[in-house]
């Protein structure tokens, strides 16, 4: 096997060059998320014939079309429901979902909640850019309070979803959030998420300079990356300050977005429990017949 060392080699191995150029704008973070995912798959040495990508609607949902693997580009918000079907039909497949904040936490919120609750063995990679980019910049359910969008010209007044918080509360086996501006931790987290049995959520804070940045004085990509640096805090640092810091320090970090691994547990998933139940019932039947 040829060893992959550069991004160019990685792209050649995993992407469909015939689909280029991509639809992504300059400065878009979706390609970065794809790159991290592919590095993770490469480092794990996964057989791409055993990987299926599913997606819904939105910019990030275009990703499966660019990857040289099986993909299911579905309807708005429903990718996780479709993916559950894929996993049920063939549990040997590794099912990865690319979704966005609008797709996953807006129109598809219910599917997300129940897949996490059932702990279905899927890896959900949610690209969170705070906006419905493809339709031109409507405010999404994860948009920070005060952020400007076509549907929130005077600033968003709705409280944003903490998607990782929800997934954690629902008992998902693996939950992590990283901004794309951190190059190493995301790849490690994607690797952990992919390998994890049960439901994994990887949330990426990814820039959309075109539909989100420009309206929020963050059109310059460097400013958006800096925004992530200024407005995020490692979970460990957050907890340390909240436990031992003074009031001023607490006030400073109170509204920051926490990043890192929120949950990493081993809980049996829906299909494992289903399998056990089947075995038990069949065993009962066989022993019953013998009598």
């Amino acid at each position: 096997m040829v060893e992959i060392k550069t991004a160019e080699e990685l792209n050649k191995k995993y992407l469909r060059e015939g689909m280029w150029p991509t639809i992504f704008c300059n400065g878009c973070g979706i390609g970065v998320v794809l790159e991290y995912t592919l590095w993770a798959i490469e480092e794990l040495g996964w057989d791409m014939d055993k990987v299926v990508f599913a997606s819904g609607i939105g910019c990030s949902s275009r990703l499966p079309g660019y990857i040289n693997a099986d993909g299911l580009h579905t309807t708005h918000g429903r990718a996780i429901a479709f993916a559950t079907g894929i996993k049920a039909a063939n549990p040997d497949l590794n099912v990865v979902i690319f979704t966005g904040d609008g797709d996953c936490s807006g129109i598809g919120g219910n599917h997300f909640i129940h897949a996490a609750r059932r702990n279905i063995d899927l890896t959900v990679i949610m690209v969170n850019n705070f906006v419905y980019g493809m339709t031109g910049g409507q405010s999404s359910p994860t948009a920070p309070i005060g952020s400007v969008a076509t549907t929130a010209p005077y600033g968003n007044i709705e409280h944003p979803f903490d998607i990782c918080g929800i997934a954690k509360a629902l008992g998902a086996n693996y939950v992590a959030r990283w901004p794309v501006s951190h190059p190493y931790q995301p790849i490690k987290s994607v690797k952990e998420g992919l390998q994890k049995k049960g439901f994994s959520l990887l949330e990426f804070l990814a820039p959309c300079p075109t539909a989100y940045g420009r309206r929020n004085k963050l059109g310059d990509i460097k400013k958006l990356w800096k925004w992530y640096d200024d407005n995020t805090i490692l979970i460990e640092d957050y907890e340390k300050t909240m436990n031992y810091g003074n009031e001023k320090e607490k006030e400073e970090i109170k509204n920051k977005i926490q990043i890192g691994v929120f949950q990493d547990i081993e809980k049996s998933g829906f299909f494992e429990e289903y399998e056990k139940l089947m075995m038990m019932l069949q065993e009962k039947k066989t022993t019953g017949e013998k009598k």
């Binding site: 609607i57 807006g106 129109i107 419905y132 339709t135 031109g136 359910p141």
Partner: protein, 385 residues
């Protein structure tokens, strides 16, 4: 009156706001987005005084419309394609609850095979929901129909929701000059909505209660009767509009050069407008062809079509396909003639997935039919299949 040069979506937004709805719930979908953005902009300018709600899905948009309408206020929304399909359950609900909601649907192709170009399969597949369906062929017609739709829907003899369909991009994103009446004139034409039945704490009623079979059947029959009433009211409203504003787009159908025609072409939406050019050219060549542009698919103009069938042979173009059968308009036209007319009817499927249907193709379709070379239901100009 002023002239506004703008796209079909912004014109629809203008019309919706001038009708003074109290609630507009909406969710963005290409190519509807600019319609609801247009309404949002009127919130900013102060011209729209109602509540504008950004909901989390089209299903929720129609739910919110139903809630608002049941509470007794005028309600409007817009959607397209998959958005409309996601609303399907609520479309039935709105119609059965007899709520006079008005909605624009921008006809867009249904996936997979993701495609945002015009195709009527989205709204055709909502045929049996009980909604009145208009198909527009110009931005002026969109404006006039939105206003007229409220008057129609809210009439106690009708009380059915109305869907105003127009083609993606060909109309939704194309600018045309449109005559806009004064607000006062619209207010005079469209009196305030005063529902006889609504959710009211002083006089409580329930929408959506359990109902036994015999009564349910009555509800269905009443919808059918109301739809028949709409057939009579649509021409009356069009006549009144013409008297006040001087514009007329036809009744249930718009007839164009049908006098003395031996062949009449039937089409809907933007293809209907394009067909006028084809008819003019064919007439120049001495061919006796006319056009009947179908404006309302529900209620279906059965009687008018039978009249056409007694006069001429009919050529039908469908920008939709009921897979396993044929074009939806083609089927319904034939059913309208059954046992009452000997007219030949030729059906063509054209323009699916947004494939262009220029007037030159429409001329060819007509000539093929006139020359007796058309098949029963033909997929016009289908490549490589």
């Amino acid at each position: 009156m002023t002239i506004m040069i703008d796209t079909g979506n912004y014109i629809a937004a203008k019309a919706a706001v001038m009708a003074r709805p109290a609630v507009v719930p909406a969710y963005p979908i290409t190519p509807q987005t600019t319609l609801v953005e247009g309404i949002a902009n009127y919130v900013k300018t102060g011209e729209f005084k109602g509540e504008y709600i950004c909901v989390e899905s089209e299903h929720s948009a129609m739910c919110a419309c139903i809630g608002a309408s049941a509470a007794g206020v005028r309600t409007f929304t817009g959607t397209s394609s998959h958005g409309l399909l996601l609303m399907h359950e609520m479309l039935h609900w709105a119609a059965l609850a007899r709520l006079p909601i008005v909605m624009c649907n921008i006809n867009r192709t249904v996936g997979p095979g993701w495609n945002i170009w015009p195709d009527e399969n989205d709204s055709i597949s909502q045929r049996d929901t009980g909604w009145i369906q208009f198909y527009c062929s110009s931005n002026q017609e969109i404006f006039d129909t939105v206003i007229q739709a409220f008057k129609l829907a809210e009439n106690e003899k009708v009380l059915l929701p109305v869907m105003i369909n127009y083609n993606a991009f060909i109309l939704s994103h194309t600018s045309m000059p449109v005559e806009i009446p004064k607000q006062k004139e619209i207010d005079d034409f469209l009196s305030k909505y005063k529902p006889r039945w609504k959710l009211d704490v002083d006089n409580p009623i329930t929408f959506g209660n359990i109902i036994l079979p015999a009564d349910y059947e009555k509800i269905r029959k009443d919808m059918q009767n109301s739809s028949e009433n709409a057939k009579k009211l649509i021409p009356e409203i069009a006549k009144e509009w013409k008297k006040i504003f001087g514009r007329y787009h036809g009744d249930l159908i718009e007839k164009y050069r049908c006098d003395g025609a031996e062949y009449i072409l039937l089409a809907m939406g933007a293809i209907g407008a394009e067909s006028k050019v084809a008819i003019d050219n064919l007439r120049k060549e001495g061919l006796k062809v006319g056009l009947a542009r179908v404006r309302t698919f529900r209620p279906f103009p059965k009687e008018e079509i039978l009249k056409l069938g007694k006069q001429a042979d009919l050529i039908v173009i469908d920008r939709n396909i009921s897979v396993g059968s044929e074009g939806a308009l083609f089927s319904e036209v034939k059913a309208a003639l059954y046992d009452k007319s000997d007219a030949k009817v030729y059906g063509f499927i054209a323009g699916l997935g947004g494939k262009d249907v220029p007037y030159t193709d429409i001329e060819k379709i007509c000539k093929k039919s006139i020359n007796g070379k058309a098949k029963d239901c033909e997929w016009y100009n289908l490549e490589g299949v």
